[in-house]
């Protein structure tokens, strides 16, 4: 049994241990909590944050053993100044004049969730779903810190992206994503502002009211400049005075830069093979991609290089375990390599659209090279790829990847 299938089966076994709470009881509890949220929202709008806090205590529910719902004590609230309503009001105050509805917010003292606000904003030309969220990112901020670089257009259809570094060291990235093939029809524009101390404000807006069909307008409502003004506003400062959670880990400094990976790949590819690094800068440490063309067939190679992979945990044994159900080969130069093919989805393994050579080199460097037809990673198509699986294997197991 391949490991993926075995793991799915194990999950089903484990899920059988879940409590057997009747669906009606869960529905009851969800409805009560949902009603309390609606009342809280209305109360906060009508009478301010104080009313919301009082109602929150009244309507919290918990499931008791045996399936009976009963009131439960509300969790302590750390700072009543940062409420969901504060987040909604602050977001609204930063938007140009327009109609606001479908509001929802969570403050720093909500039982679950971070400070965020969601509104539907209509400037008179159709509603946009707008979600603003806050977070901290781990220091030091580096090229590998997620959200501080423009996304790679080979991974996701992108209409445009700008990255601006402020004089104070803050980084503003504004991304305009197009709908993905086979995905929903909405376009998403995202602005991510990261302060030098790690605070982050992010805004996502869509050209629909509900983040799905029907579309309400050709593009989301706020322009790039308007997005920038909202996420970089000092109006969010009070949020970070009370919200101090960081959930991210710093980027690993050991990973090779994309330029180094591309340089090695270039030196290893046979001279007759046409290659293209693409025009967009590649910034994610440890990863790089290029297209190769052979006899008119163009494929994307996505390369991941991890020096000292799992070095403290018997990497050779771990790697060999990965090969269950797949082809594992030991090369003469001491590398282990797993080769495999994948279909468009997990449940459709054929026809193959992705070919993978995954190698663990003698010095512990792991090199994974994935190949798919075309020039992007999100629209893989079946057909004969530019490089054979054997060629991918030769590439992945080359000693030149070792540091």
């Amino acid at each position: 049994m391949p490991f993926d299938n075995a793991f799915s089966e194990l999950l089903r076994d484990a899920a059988d241990l879940a409590p057997d709470t009747p669906g009606d009881v869960l529905a009851d509890a969800g409805e009560r909590l949902g009603r309390s949220r609606v009342l809280r929202r209305r109360a906060a709008t009508a009478a301010g944050a104080c009313a919301a806090l009082a109602l929150a205590g009244l309507f919290s529910v918990a499931i008791q053993p045996g399936g009976v719902t009963a009131p439960a004590a509300s969790r302590p609230r750390t700072n009543p100044a940062i409420t969901g309503q504060f987040m909604i009001d602050t977001l609204t105050s930063l938007l140009p004049p327009g109609r606001i509805d479908d509001t929802y917010g969570e403050g720093s003292s909500a039982p679950q969730g971070g400070p965020m606000a969601h509104v539907a904003y209509d400037d008179g030309h159709g509603a946009s779903a707008i979600t603003l969220s806050t977070d901290w990112v781990a220091l030091p901020i580096s090229a590998g810190t997620q959200g501080t670089q423009c996304p790679d257009p080979t991974e996701r259809p992108t209409e445009g992206c700008t990255r601006t570094v402020g004089t104070d060291g803050s980084i503003l990235v504004i991304e305009k994503f197009k709908p993905e093939p086979g995905g929903g029809p909405t376009s998403t524009w995202t602005a991510i502002w990261t302060g030098p101390d790690g605070r982050r404000v992010r805004l996502d807006e869509m050209n629909s009211r509900t983040a799905g069909p029907p579309l309400t307008r050709a593009e989301p409502a706020l322009s790039a400049d308007q997005l920038a003004a909202v996420v970089s506003s000092p109006a969010w400062n009070p949020v970070f005075e009370v919200f101090t959670t960081s959930t991210n880990t710093p980027a690993s400094p050991q990973l090779p830069l994309p330029s180094a990976i591309l340089s090695t790949a270039d030196s290893l590819l046979p001279s007759g093979i046409q290659r293209d690094h693409g025009s967009a800068p590649q910034t994610t440490p440890g990863m790089a991609h290029l297209t190769v063309t052979v006899d008119g067939r163009t494929s994307l190679l996505s390369i991941s290089v991890t020096p000292h992979w799992m070095k403290d945990h018997n990497p050779r044994s771990l790697f060999n375990n990965l090969a269950t159900g797949q082809q594992l080969t030991h090369t003469q130069n001491g590398a282990d390599v797993i080769t495999s093919t994948y279909g468009t989805t997990k449940s459709s393994p054929t026809p193959p659209v992705r070919w993978l050579a995954d190698a663990l080199l003698p010095d512990g460097t792991r090199v994974s090279i994935s190949e798919n037809n075309g020039t992007t990673g999100y629209d893989a198509q079946p057909g004969t790829p530019a490089l054979t699986l054997d060629q991918l294997t030769t590439l992945a197991t080359a000693p030149a990847w070792q540091q």
Binding site: F7, V25, E31
Partner: protein, 175 residues
């Protein structure tokens, strides 16, 4: 306890109670995996997720796949909860070897412990991919990650699960 549905026929979208009652247990099983086997927290999360869905039900009911939407709300509720908890807990990114010699003979209990040792987002990736059977792209969309991010998290998390389950897994795979 079930309330009569207000839906006049099967062509109409279900009402909230009908939907929550029919999907609640599946959501609870998902939450149980996400929490690494914490039954009480799983119930809290399902309750919270259904509460969030209640307020937007009229819109959600018109979506093509409200069940899938509910699963995504649940996963995001879980991740939000973990972010809240992270101020008092340190989510370790180091390898957990404790369970390798765990004497508990039950493979599924060991799996739950292995899940609970993973970073929350890695857990969410595994649950969406291998319990919900979502594609890499669908998982990426639900978690606002890139497809390559989902692949790398999935690969890393599976390696850790393998390492924790050790020989027990090999035994299971052979059957």
């Amino acid at each position: 306890m079930k309330h009569p549905s207000t839906s006049p026929g099967p062509a109409q979208p279900p009402d909230f109670r009908e939907f929550a009652a029919s999907r609640g247990r599946h959501l609870l099983r998902t939450a149980y995996l996400l929490t690494g086997g914490d039954a009480h927290l799983a119930e809290d999360l399902v309750q919270e997720a259904l509460g969030r869905i209640y307020g937007r039900w009229r819109k959600i009911a018109r979506l093509g796949n409200p069940a899938g939407y509910a699963q995504t709300v649940l996963v995001n509720t879980f991740l939000s909860h973990r972010r809240r908890r992270a101020s008092s807990e340190r989510v370790t990114d180091t390898f957990d070897e404790v369970a390798v010699s765990d004497p508990d003979p039950s493979l599924r209990l060991t799996l739950l412990r292995a899940l609970s040792a993973l970073p929350p987002q890695d857990r969410a990736v595994l649950v969406l991919r291998f319990w919900e059977d979502r594609s890499v792209e669908e998982t990426a969309a639900a978690l606002q990650l890139s497809a390559s991010g989902v692949r790398s998290r999935s690969s890393r998390a599976l390696e850790r699960i393998r390492a924790v389950l050790g020989d027990q897994l090999d035994e299971f795979v052979r059957h």
